[in-house]
Amino acid sequence: MRRTLSQSILLYATIVGAAIVILFPIYWLVITALASTDELSSLPPTFWPEAPDWGVFAKVISERPILTWLWNSTLAAIGAVSLSMLVSVAAGYSLSRFKVRGGHSMGMFILTAKMLPATLMVIPLFALFRSFGLVGSLWSVILAQATFIIPFTTWMLKGYFDTIPRELEQAAMVDGCTPLSAMFKVVLPISTPGLAATGLYAFVLSWSEYAYARTFLISEQGNWTANLGIAGMRGEYTSAWNEISAASIFVALPIIIIYIFLERYLVGGLTAGAEK
């Protein structure tokens, strides 16, 4: 399709306009972090700070336990992702390759499990964790997050394994592999891209989670995850918006970086997960 010059200009103008509107909130977050307290408490609002205050990032790190929060989020994510991947790789492979009695209904159940409302699940989980003394520990968040991460990872991995031809395992078995060693020596090694994409997607899910963290960790400040810390700062009476914004940037940055470099894989996972 050929475009005339005016059509091209119109197209680019619309795209740039849309991009500005969509990115504006992120721009506003950065500007707010860098603006001075005076600029933030005056109207009209500051669209470009007179003297960007880069020191705010160091200030937030030294005055707030941001690093602890980020570390806790990292630990929770590592735990939830490892646990989910461990069971999902096996389950996804089984659902893709074998006929298991009840396997189909199990797969369907797992698929619907990602529709479960966290606000309902959090009630019995709280009761359960309380009797095992897990409330306040990161383990509670790891286990609770696995309830919604496993459905995603299992189905993403099943979809990925489905794209790998069975002839590969058959050839390996002709060469003397058992079904189990065919899985470990042949299928899993060539599935590395799929495994990595799924793991990263799971990481994003865990990193962004708030409901379970808030419920189980609220009274245990030392174990607060990043989202919980940010929500806590927002709840304070004197809102220092530049500091909250600077802290928020630390929390959002890892995910945004993952997204920018691995958008293709994450988007692939998103659509695969949704189309089941």
Partner: protein, 302 residues
């Protein structure tokens, strides 16, 4: 000599003990952290209990939670708020998501970058999105009020988060910004699966841009859009963090959805039985929506 039995993965009957073994850990974990808790919550909804711990003696069976629920104006109010929010956010995300997808589906230089930018809000954690919009909607120095004054819509600063009607739209806008990239991503995937021959043939027949959209693009997108709409709807329906951190369900419960009501009853008032009843109702609605989707969705690979 004992000959190892060949196991043929390509045969239609692929029963093998390994299949069971590999599925077992998932089944056990799902049973412990999903199915068992679900049973507990349904059971709790039929008991008149406050804060509970496992091992507490079971209270007698009662329907009081459901009776109280259906006669409570708060519950019907929460249903109404949920419905309004679901409609507003789904329609908003659909309009923005569909138009951005159609926009970046054009062939132009920098298309990859444009696609990356259009879906960037997807990567921003919900709590962070709330921080951004809470500041934009700030009642003293927020940008949104200033824009409204400049446009002559209002004469003074709007207390967005503490005015019922305005708080609802603040929540809806935050959710649309966070939710439209998903629609956009799904639509793009759908658009790419439409064979270009269709368009070529339509052009030969003299179809204009609108006709091509109406008779080729839209019908081909319908299956994907159906699934997407249900997923967005479920996301709004179940959302906790955006509303909780932005408005905490207020003011005057104007942003208290069924999810927020469930949570507040459980962890604000510690009425676990009553909260479970609200949650079970929420769950039933979610399950109906998912079944609808599973029945209608495109069958890819399954």
């Amino acid at each position: 000599m004992h000959k190892q039995r060949m196991f043929d993965l390509a045969r239609p009957s692929r029963q093998h003990w390994l299949g069971y073994l590999l599925l077992a850990p998932a089944v056990i974990l799902v049973a412990v952290i999903i199915i068992y808790p679900l049973i507990i919550s349904v059971d709790l909804s039929f008991q008149n209990v406050k804060l509970v711990k496992m091992g507490d003696a079971r209270k007698p069976f009662t329907l009081i939670n459901y009776q109280r629920l259906f006669t409570s104006p708060d519950f019907w109010m929460a249903c109404w708020v949920t419905l309004k929010l679901v409609v507003a956010v789904t329609v908003g995300s659909l309009v923005v998501g569909l138009s951005t997808a159609l926009l970046v589906n054009n062939k132009f230089k920098g298309r990859t970058l444009a696609r990356l930018i259009m879906a960037l809000p997807w990567a921003v954690p919900e709590v962070i999105a709330v921080v951004i919009f809470a500041w934009i909607f700030d009642s003293s120095f927020g940008l949104m009020s200033w824009v409204f004054i400049k446009l002559g819509i209002t004469t003074e600063m709007v207390a967005w988060v503490s005015t019922p009607g305005a708080a609802f739209w603040a929540v809806a806008m935050t959710m649309i910004w966070k939710g439209f990239p998903f629609v956009s991503i799904m639509t793009l995937a759908g658009l790419q699966s439409i064979p270009s021959d269709f368009y070529a043939a339509a052009k030969v027949d003299g179809a204009n841009v609108y006709q091509r959209f109406r008779w080729i693009t839209l019908p081909s997108l319908m299956p994907v859009l159906g699934v997407t709409i249900v997923l967005v709807l479920l996301w709004v329906f179940r959302d906790f963090s955006i509303i909780k951190v932005l408005t905490n369900g207020g003011p005057l419960k104007s942003t208290t959805t069924l999810s927020i009501m469930t949570y507040d009853q459980a962890f604000g008032f510690f009425r676990f039985g009553y909260a479970s009843a609200v949650g079970v109702i929420t769950l039933i609605i979610c399950v109906i929506a998912s079944l609808f989707m599973l029945g209608r969705g495109p069958k890819s690979g399954l």
